[in-house]
């Protein structure tokens, strides 16, 4: 029993790496997606809407398979870990697009009008007035997205990345101690999620106007 712990810890580290990289890529895609959806240009708005609709309308697992197994057919060669990060990042990016867009459009229109009246350009009023306020609103919902993403990293077990779920599955198969294996990996997931949500709460409190 004791001999399996190091493997689980190593696997947890892979899950953490996956989560961090996916979060970064997801925020990037989410920012781009939100910018496209709120753009002045119709074409960009359509592209943004199509991105959100297709990604949110199909299973992440299928998206991962298209990228990893189908990628080589269109000249994209990725190893399982890279495919996992890119697939999951683009996936969660669609959800983050909606989170970020939601926060931005919930800022009162009067704020922009006031900023414009003071002589700021469209870009300035967005950067200096709307965005700082929207950022504050999006911390919590983005935290929910990240929480889902951490659990979502389990999907890469299906393309044989040796992370927590893959490791648990392997030892459930070989040890005859399914519940112990489930519990070990489950507790590790919960520790990762707990730390993340504490960090989000800390950030949210820090961003609050006193």
């Amino acid at each position: 029993m004791l001999t399996v712990y190091p493997y689980f810890l190593k696997a947890a580290w892979v899950t953490i790496q996956l989560s961090v990289l996916t979060t970064i890529l997801g925020l990037f895609c989410g920012g781009l997606g939100a910018a496209a959806r709120l753009s002045r240009f119709v074409v960009l708005r359509y592209i943004g809407a199509a991105y959100v609709s297709f990604i949110r309308g199909t299973p992440a697992l299928i998206q991962l398979f298209i990228l990893y197994f189908g990628g080589p057919q269109i000249g994209i060669q990725l190893d399982a870990f890279e495919a996992g990060v890119i697939g999951l990042g683009v996936n969660i990016g669609a959800y983050m697009t909606e989170t970020i867009r939601g926060a931005i459009i919930s800022i009162d229109k009067g704020q922009i009008e006031a900023a414009r009246t003071l002589g700021m350009s469209r870009g300035q009023s967005f950067r200096k007035v709307v965005l700082p306020q929207a950022m504050r609103l999006m911390i919590r919902p983005l935290g929910v997205n990240i929480n889902a993403l951490i659990k979502g990293t389990a999907l890469v077990a299906a393309i044989s990345v040796v992370e927590l779920t893959y490791t648990a599955q392997r030892y459930i198969g070989s040890t005859y101690k399914p519940f112990e294996m489930f519990l070990i990996s489950g507790i590790l997931y919960m520790i990762i999620i707990y730390i993340t949500s504490r960090a989000v709460t800390w950030l949210d409190n820090k961003a609050k106007i006193v």
Partner: protein
Amino acid sequence: MGLDFSVVPDYLDVIFLGALWTIAITVGAAVLSFFGGIFFAVIALYAPTLVRLPLRAFEWLFMGTPLLLQLFLIYFGLVQIGIDLPAFVAGVVGLGLHFAVYNSELIQTAIVAVDKGQMEAARTVGLSRGQALRKVVIPQAVRDVIPPIGNNMIALLKDSALVSVIGVTELTLSAQLAIGRTYRPFEFYVVAALFYYIINLGMEAVLRRIERRVQAAR
């Protein structure tokens, strides 16, 4: 190796059958998650501590761990203690329980939000506590959370792809079977994605109708 979608029509019947299984799993798990959610919510709110605490731990575990891991536990784990569920049943139970926990959270808040006067009035008219819950409080609570429960069910449809991993021949695994014969992963996964997208649109339309009807009944 370029793309060649001309092989797809030969396997459309396989894919179509897989799509029907995906719908069956989704509907089965959705029903289980709905009633399971109500059941868990009632226990969480009204059962004695001795029953409530283990359930709380169970909920905690199911919300804090990936669905895929839970499916592995239910399918590969239960066999080792002598419970041999067919893959389809394991899939429906796993998805159903997972989303029941999420639905339970929603329903709990909604039950608490129903005006206390409703329960008091029902008791005054002579209904027992259980009857009052079943016939007066819960219907009103559930009505309030139909939209977020609907969102959970859309998520459930997409997560049903995960049961391919435990060997249920639904849409994803059907696509994989076709790929095994043709070595055309890109084509068949894209086709599977399109099927999911269409089922998703259909499901959203159904949910919108239900929401509208529930709103009208108010």
